[in-house]
């Protein structure tokens, strides 16, 4: 899974959110390490909807502007759980290697 998809799905675990909220959450969750541009965000959202991992939620009109919310679907939740598990395995393996050569982990 690409990092963009990973961070979007992780941020949607907290509940449905609109585009800007997703970029904010992503920045917060990654301590500012992962910055998501609006263009990349919407391309990823489009792809994730096509794959059936997320769907469009409610739409709010604020100051005449449409705010489209996105929410995580069951398939998306499964996909992110699996991805987290995989990434954890990779980290575990790397830590093991580090110990092997006498590094601190």
């Amino acid at each position: 899974m690409q990092d963009t998809s990973f961070w979007i799905l992780v941020s949607l675990l907290e509940g449905e959110a609109h585009g800007y909220a997703i970029t904010r959450r992503t920045a917060e969750l990654s301590d500012g390490a992962f910055k998501l541009g609006a263009g990349s965000l919407y391309s990823a959202l489009d792809r994730l909807s096509d794959e059936g991992l997320i769907s469009k939620g409610r739409q709010e009109i604020e100051n005449g502007r449409a705010r489209q919310y996105f929410r995580l679907l069951k398939k998306g939740k499964d996909a992110i759980s699996e991805e987290i598990e995989q990434r954890a395995n990779v980290v575990r393996m790397a830590k093991g290697r580090l110990k092997l050569v006498g590094g601190v982990s």
Partner: protein, 300 residues
Amino acid sequence: MNPGAVQVLERRYRALIRLYPQRFRDKHEEGLVTTLLDGAKADQRCPAVGEAFDLMTMASLEHFREDTQASGLRAVKQGVQMGAAMLLPILFIFKLHNFYKLNQVFLPAATWSDKWNYTSYEILQSIPAMLAALLGSLALLGFASAKVSGRFAAGLCAVASALTLLPIVTASRAGGAMWLHRGGGAALMTTLLCLAWSLYQEPPLLRKRVGLLGLLLLGCYSWMGLTSLFGLAAYFAPVAVIGACGALGPRACVAMSVPLINRALSVAWMDPWALLMTVLVSAFVFHMSLLRTRSLLRTM
């Protein structure tokens, strides 16, 4: 935030978003604009460089994704349009090169008299051809990058093709049988393109069949490498053009008529039809391999 500044910024964001494919814009334009404006600084009037770059890159990737998702003939058509868009600027450069070479006839005295006849009206003929190639290139590049609508690009290409009719005037003034060869060929091709345009409106199945047949003949014609439109290959050429229009759509074919009509003046060291076919076939193969890879990845 100053409302005037917001309006300016919004307009600029929307201009960038126009680079995306229509399908994507229908679904996400409003959300994207809102997100961009939410993230904008107070009194920001221009998209940040990073934002603009992100939008432009993602827009072209979306076009690409759309192409690979398209199925069958549509993918081929898009591939061919991409091919044609890539080809025209190349032809333009070669035309420019020819034009430049013609200027050099003033330098070597030995061949001067020989080439004088050639320049007197051939140089006049290459000016509209160059203009046509330039206009056609701009229209197709604009269309490919979603800057202009398909209808506008087709219109501009039609103007470009019509421009190549100008040699009728210049060549008939020069006298001789040349005007029949060049001007007649140009008139014939333009008439055929109009016919092909109406054929394009026909039901898809007929279009596909005629189109495939035409492409086959186009291939035969191009590799035969014959020079005259009124030679043996004349029988292939009309069918090929109509067929190609059916298969590829009017945009690609009107653009293709630019190198076709100016065949005799095009790339000197390489047959333009062969070059055209190479690009078209490469675009086709490229697209088919993309579609294949995609379906393979899906099944994995």
